[in-house]
């Protein structure tokens, strides 16, 4: 017994000593299939610069919704990570509930913060009531992915890719005649509502104004009808998003409309074909008037009062959102780093060499907010929209005006 106690004492002392040597920063991030490679690239550089900090990765979040939810649960249970990556449209709820900490004190302590490449437009994405809470880490926009070998069967090449959704439906018909079973996949299921917002912003209409859900407008009906035309015109299969990405990478699909974020993952996984990305089609020939920014930003959720612990968390947070850390986002994924210095200096030649990742950069002037659904029911509202859109894909809803009314009522009811 005595020996056992002594041994336990040694073990405890050893762990305490190890803890003194290194400050452990706990960190959570979503979408491991996109970001694992990014953090694998960043970590060695970070450890070289900060040898006394250890980053402890928590289990990754399956999606942004799952990420927000995990943080809310962890806040109740009292085991929040120090830094968490959250979807751009899920920051607000964590700020409202007082879980995210303001970054102002840390920014004030930095000598030349603007010189690190954080410029105002990007900081705005994480600013709530004059205070910066989140530093954007990765920005995405919807783009079109094309398998040029499949597209060639219907006579398409890089110069005449579809520019409107009607063109897309025509392309589907031609591809089907040319013997392609599954011509297209349209990513309605990206976090349940992002592509709805894309069709709304395409017409320059926000999806949420204040507390009002705007689907009951004329633009809302156009958005739903456009989706219906795409789904029925292309006879799109209701693929789960992971199998859709797998099908495209395997060369089965000719066209896929998805976030630019997956370009890196598709390039790594794809078979032997030519991948071209092109501008997201518009409802009219002029193209979209706006598109929602996807992506995530880093929030400080540490509950520690220890200044050293906070400084370490801040060091990590700053490292991944600026300089080499931010540049690795572009190198490993299809995301754009929202950091001027990273974009203009480190990545100067990068986009010329990687044209598939350049489409989103060309679309940057269209960048609009990815809107949140305010209040406690935000996640529930997203689910209602997801269910509604899925009903269009499965053919459950045929009358879009009816669906528009049903969805508007149910979502509005959740937002009030």
């Amino acid at each position: 017994m005595k020996y056992a106690m002594t041994a336990m004492g040694f073990v405890l002392a050893a762990t305490a000593a190890a803890a003194e040597d290194k400050i452990v920063v706990e960190f959570g991030y979503p979408y491991s299939h996109l970001f694992d490679v990014t953090y694998e690239a960043i970590l060695p550089k970070f450890y070289a610069a900060h040898p006394n900090i250890e980053i402890k990765m928590r289990a990754t979040y399956e999606s942004y919704e799952d990420g927000t939810n995990t943080i809310l649960r962890e806040a109740v249970a009292g085991n929040l990570p120090d830094v968490t990556m959250q979807g751009l449209n899920r920051q607000a709820i964590l700020v409202e509930k007082g879980i995210a900490r303001s970054l102002e004190p840390f920014i004030a302590a930095e000598a030349d913060f603007a010189k690190d490449g954080y410029h105002k437009a990007m900081l705005d994405l994480g600013t709530f009531g004059d205070e910066v809470y989140g530093l954007p880490f990765s920005i995405s926009l919807p783009v079109g992915y094309y398998n040029m070998e499949v597209m060639a069967k219907a006579g398409y090449d890089a110069t005449n890719l579809p520019a409107t959704w009607e063109d897309v439906v025509q392309a589907c018909v031609k591809l089907r005649e040319a013997g392609v079973d599954n011509p297209m996949f349209w990513g309605w299921n990206i976090t349940g509502n992002w592509f709805l917002q894309a069709l709304m912003w395409s017409q320059d209409k926000p999806t949420v104004e204040g507390n009002d859900f705007q689907l009951d407008s004329d633009e809302g009906l156009v958005a739903l009808e456009t989706m219906q035309n795409i789904f029925t015109g292309c006879e799109m299969q209701n693929l789960e998003w992971k199998s859709a990405l797998a099908s495209f990478s395997a060369g089965d699909l000719g066209m896929m409309y998805w976030s630019t974020s997956a370009v890196g993952a598709v390039e790594r996984a794809m078979g032997d074909f030519t991948l071209v990305t092109n501008e997201y089609p518009g409802i009219t020939a002029e193209g979209p008037m706006g598109l929602p920014a996807g992506g995530n930003s880093a929030l400080l959720t540490s509950t520690s009062d220890d200044p050293e612990q906070l400084a370490a968390a801040w060091a990590w947070l700053k490292f991944i959102t600026s300089g080499e850390g931010a540049a690795d986002v572009a190198r490993t994924t299809g995301y754009m780093p929202p950091n001027q210095a990273a974009n203009e200096i480190i990545l100067a030649d990068f986009y010329a060499e990687n044209p598939a990742k350049a489409t989103a950069v060309r679309q940057l002037p269209l960048l609009r907010e990815w809107q949140a659904y305010p209040g406690d029911n935000g996640l529930a509202a997203t689910q209602v929209i997801y269910d509604g859109l899925e009903g269009i894909v499965t053919g459950e809803y045929e009358d879009m005006a009816e669906l528009q009314e049903e969805l508007s009522e149910e979502v509005q009811d959740l937002l009030d």
């Binding site: 999606s63 939810n69 029911n377 996640l379 209602v384 499965t394």
Partner: protein, 305 residues
């Protein structure tokens, strides 16, 4: 004076029952009357609003449809197949143990792991089911219109087509569950005294069907009541498979949105404790009714031995 010793005997059990069972249920009932959302400081009392939602909203209508479809497909089939398998195995001299093990294997396997295997099998293009079906194209099978349609384009997305999803999931439920019922029935069969069969034969029950109808089935009464009740409860509880197949949304057009998944979606995924607790209470009520019916049947009808 009467001794108070009995309090010391039943006290610990009573206290545990209150702390572990009754108080959590009462808390759930209390929460179901509020709009508590995880992470909030307080909550508003909303009366029966959550229950009103459950019985009026189309989402919850889909929940009941999915749950009852699953339950009323899986219960009869698992009970029927369980009884059939038990009778066959019971009549076997050799290999009985081997079959027992084979049929019981799916019960022992974790359903969530099996779900992943099934997901591969049902994959629309590379899964074994659809690629096997494709092999039959161009043969006489194409005379069947459904098959011809599958050959022309693709065979169904078993898990993601709203016309097929709930039946596919039910099929896996049956596959997984009937071995359990088989074991229960086997236990029931061994407890039937063989003399009864001899007596029945003397009275003229010579055919196998007569022996089953007059001896086996009545004497399996208590077992059947138990098997049916436990099958109902297990089917109401189906969750892990749905969560593995459809982590978001509960299947195509919510066609596999079973109650347990609804509780999880509202209470855990969306942090809406109020409505999640309300669904839990409705769920408990269902299970309670089933248990009461079982007690009643056991006490009234099934005492033959």
């Amino acid at each position: 004076m009467q001794s108070r010793a009995h309090l010391w005997f039943i006290g610990p059990a009573m206290a545990l029952m209150f702390i572990v069972l009754l108080i959590p249920i009462l808390i759930a009932v209390g929460l179901s009357l509020t709009d508590y959302s995880l992470g909030n400081q307080g909550a508003e009392f909303v009366g029966l609003e959550n229950y009103e939602r459950i019985f009026t909203r189309s989402t919850y209508e889909k929940m009941f449809v999915a749950t009852f479809r699953y339950v009323f497909v899986v219960v009869p089939l698992t009970v029927g197949l369980g009884l059939g398998a038990a009778l066959l195995i019971h009549s076997l001299g050799r290999f009985g143990d081997l079959y027992k093990t084979i049929y019981f294997l799916p019960v022992m396997a974790a359903l969530i792991a099996m779900a992943i295997v099934w997901e591969f099998a049902f994959h629309p293009t590379i899964g074994i089911i659809n690629s096997t079906l494709e092999k039959g194209c161009g043969t006489f099978l194409e005379a069947w219109p459904w098959y011809a349609k599958g050959c022309e384009r693709t065979f169904p997305l078993w898990l993601n087509d709203r016309d097929y999803a709930i039946w596919t999931v039910s099929f896996i439920g049956v596959w997984q569950g009937f071995g359990f019922n088989m074991v229960l029935y086997l236990a029931g069969l061994t407890s039937i005294p063989p003399q009864l069969y001899d007596a029945a034969e003397m009275d003229g029950a010579t055919r196998g069907w007569d022996r089953f109808r007059l001896v086996t089935w009545p004497l399996l009464g208590p077992t059947t009541v138990f098997v049916v009740t436990i099958s109902f409860i297990r089917s109401f509880q189906v969750f892990d498979m749905v969560e593995a197949f459809y982590p978001q949304g509960g299947g195509p057009s919510k066609s596999v949105f079973v109650m347990m998944f609804a509780i999880y979606e509202k209470g855990i995924q969306q942090n809406l404790m109020g409505i999640g607790a309300a669904i839990t209470v409705v769920f408990l009520a269902f299970v309670m009714v089933l248990t009461v019916i079982q007690r009643w049947l056991v006490e009234r009808r099934t005492h033959y031995v």
